[in-house]
Amino acid sequence: MSSKTKKPADEWLAEKMSGQVDFEERRLGPGDEFHVQYMRTLTNSDIIFRFIVTPSYEMGDVQAFKNYIASFPGTVQPKDMEQLMEYVLKGYVVITIESECYLFEAVKTETSGIGEAINEAIVQGPRDALSENIELNINLIRRRYQSSALKIEMLTVGNVSKTTVAILYDADRVDRQVLDEMREKIGGVKVDILQSAGELEKYITTQKFRVFPTMVVTERPDRVVFNIAEGKVAVLMNTTGFAILAPTIFTDFFTAMDDKIQVPLVGWFLKVIRYIGLFMTLTLPGFYVTFASYNPEILKVQISLLIAGSRAAVPYPSFMEVFLMLLMMEFLTEASLRLPKAIGPTATTVGGLILGQAATQAGLVSNIMIILVSAVAISNFIIPLSMMGYTVRVIKYIIVLFAITFGLVGMVVSVVGLILYLSGMRSFGRPYLKMTLLEIKSKGERRNG
């Protein structure tokens, strides 16, 4: 080992890793001759036990054990401290024998128990999803974020369930205020049973009445890593395959992980499409009520006539029609979600056929309404994160209500109110809706202000 540095490698490493919960240190051998250090979550304990722990007691002789360790094909001797750290974070075991350092390969690559991300599926890019085992998840994240700045803090929440909760962050980039707030809030959670990330998210938000999610709940380790690198705090939980990310702002809910993989132009296009989808799913039903019942003169004559013509057989006012169809659509979505895979398609086919064909022929709803409802449903599914998708599903009813009572005025009032409401929200002290596009020029100012 290099003689330039005054401190021995093992002490240096121990000091560097002092805050890491998954860093393990052991003295082995009959006379504690061997100093072993490794990251618990990154190494295979079976290998360590079989090839290091057992022989270290059986051999007894220091020189023999040294030779034994050096004989493994994966064993290396680090050139400097950086390399040492790099290998430790890869999952190597550091064995220090008589102030000589060996890096023993005991990398744990988890493949079993890791499923594919289903809820946030993407076209290209990594497919791994978080598992329900917290150690495994930390392994997944450590493997993607090989920096000693990545800190993990473990807590236990739940009087009965005793769920292990881990707070992950990059010590160099994280916003200390957010971190302290997060620690304090998780520490203050008093429940008996804690089983899912969504529950935890509910307990740690301060707002009494909330409509929009202020934290992302994700199942993708790559999203977690990406957000940690941005200086956010991630919370992992045992027994659930989801992580919580905070602080989260409105626009975060409209980024998919493959936006980065795409050509920039395509990435932008996809983003714009999502916002258009958001606008459509929120306002289309309201606009239909406005145009059909309040202000048919807004549209071109031909279109107004078209709507009126298709509504000719419908015996009740437009808002009844809208509510009926929207409700049916919600039922369909929910039904196809809960039903077992084998019956799922049946429900959609039956529902789609009956609602689409028969309802219009019977004169219960207009043709245009069917098209509109499908457009609303489809544009709702464009939103990449399902939490926001659910919120938007509810918000559109509020806008419809405004449209029913005030017509066009109600539409504008509700949209303006929505923008004001979103701007008034804060996620861990960060403004929830803010146009960051124009901030590029004044970066210094943003940091201060």
């Binding site: 009032v413 923008i419 809706l433 803010k434 943003r446 201060n448």
Partner: protein
Amino acid sequence: MVSGKYIYYLFLMNALINIINFVPRILVLMRFHGALMAILIGTVVGTAILFAFTRLMSRFQGKGLPEIFNRYLPRVFSVPLLLLYSIFWFGAAIVTMLSFVDITLRFISPDISPYAVMIGFLLLSSICARLSSESILYALETILLLITPLIVYILVKSLTSEGFSWDAVLQTITYLWTKPNYSAVAGATFIFSGYMNLVVFNRNFRNLKTRLLWVIPVTAFVILLVTFLVPIGYHGTVGVEDHVYSWFSTADSIRMELFIIERVLFLFYTTYLSLSLFSMTIHWHVGLELFKGVFRSRHEKKESKKGDWWILIPVCIVTLLLMSFMNQVRLAQMGQWFLNIRFANEFVLLIALYIANKRSARRT
């Protein structure tokens, strides 16, 4: 704390909103009696006030009018002044609300109850006025970014339309060298009043030094010319006075041939309604904060939101009562009064700030 760019947004909001606050009406009535001259004078005077005001306000970093007045002026002056300005800001919002309710009834839904529309406006402004100043500024930025392209589109559409008569515009310009009266100048300076909202929003600005402040007079001049001349181009030099809301009638004369909405009026109405709602909310917010400032003692620092509804509900009731005996003539009259008083009031505010500034300099 927010960056300096939000001053421009405050300005832009007022500049765009002037169309519904009876400014075009006053200018159009004065079109043969010095309206153009008033625009020129108004731009100069408005710019002067703007610069003086922002300079004075930048001396009091991070402080709003209530803090400044309570600290540096004797209580005999600070209380009535704050009360006056609070009423004044509520008044500004009320004028906007009343005219927009009138516009809604006239152009969009004649069969809806005016009280229903008014209650909708009041609810939105009252609830949203209680947000923090910072949040309101963020929201303002969002809405302006969404709306400005639409307004530019409407403007381009209106200037390129066949129905626009440049002759009428040129003829109006021949009346340039006429002496304007006070109300015309007062109307023309309304466009600059956006920065007046700084009386409360100054709390959120760290440094008011803005490099591009000259953009404001240029933009203001162009917007004023457009405000005044476009309706004349559509309705003719004489016919234009038949319209109370000349811009809405103008927008109704423009047609979008290749879109699902044919009449530009609806696009115009939607954009301006959202802008007006913002203006109402901001004025409501400023009025509320000033009013709370009356009761705040010299040393109390923390903002409290407890008593908000005790102020807002009476103001809402007053608004509804006012509406009950308002008709179009009275409303136009009130709008004009408002603009006249506002102009004089700005000078009073400047003087008061100047004195406060002197006293603060002496104290340190």
